[in-house]
């Protein structure tokens, strides 16, 4: 999977792409923990290039969201599409994490 960080003021914008599955989710978690270690706590994760997420990907997101919150920050998600969005909805993650339709909405709301 692809994971890229861009800073926008206090916000850490994380662009994810490709597949977030059993094999790649640990890589996502490791990168995010590194950024948290460097002091980032306010994350906006942009899903518009993500093709696939499984429960392993959701678990990693939850671990990272809890860490960010424990440090006074937050992780919000935006631009979910197709079955990725459906996976968020049926898993209950759309209610557990703040989810926005677009990056614009996420950066205004986050």
């Amino acid at each position: 999977m692809d994971i890229t960080l861009n800073k926008s003021g206090q916000l850490a914008i994380v662009l994810v792409g490709g597949r977030m599955d059993t094999l790649s989710a640990p890589e996502f978690e490791k990168k995010m923990q590194e950024w948290i270690g460097q002091g980032e706590t306010r994350f906006v994760v942009d899903f518009h290039n993500l093709d696939y997420i499984s429960s392993a990907g959701l678990r990693s997101l939850m671990v990272v969201a809890k860490d960010a919150r424990a440090r006074g920050g937050e992780l919000v998600c935006c631009a979910l599409k197709g079955v990725v969005k459906q996976v968020f909805d049926v898993s209950g993650f759309s209610a557990l994490l703040p989810v926005y339709g677009s990056m614009d909405d996420a950066t205004k709301g986050g």
């Binding site: 094999l23 499984s54 429960s55 197709g82 049926v90």
Partner: protein, 140 residues
């Protein structure tokens, strides 16, 4: 291209990726939609991960038989393993009232399969766990 693909998957994650790649080549040859391919990938990953976690108490590598069948407007994915009797359909669904601070990290995979596939059936047959998952191609 055959209407049936049989795979034998060893219970470790390196083999999981290889099997999913073979399955994806077969999906492509059957011209299945992006949505159906996503759902089939999710079923393969979640069920095989679940079998790895719960079916065996030892550290040995076991074989799981996986059969994909494209028939009459649906995709059938069948899993057979010789692990201990385990019906994943008896696992409780995640608590809808959980919050981020209290929610458990696990237990989601089978819930996703049950919600997104059309039917999921479990049977214990001749000392094996058999799980049959059907995905309708109707809205493909």
């Amino acid at each position: 291209m055959s209407e049936i693909l049989n795979l034998t998957v060893e219970t470790n994650s390196a083999r999981l990726a290889e099997s999913i790649n073979r399955a994806n080549a077969w999906f492509e040859a059957h011209d299945l939609s992006e949505r159906i391919v996503y759902l089939a990938n999710l079923v393969l990953e979640e069920v095989l991960t679940n079998i790895n976690k719960y079916a065996f108490d030892d550290d040995e590598i076991h074989d799981v038989e996986v059969r994909l069948r494209h028939e009459q407007g649906q995709l059938l994915i069948e899993f057979k393993d010789d692990g201990k009797e385990f019906n994943p359909l008896l696992s409780p669904p995640p608590d809808p009232n959980r919050s981020l601070d209290r929610s458990e990290a696990g237990g989601l995979g089978i819930h996703l399969v049950r919600k997104l596939a059309d039917t999921v059936e479990y049977q214990r047959e001749q000392g094996k766990n058999v799980l049959r998952v059907r995905i309708s191609l109707g809205d493909a």
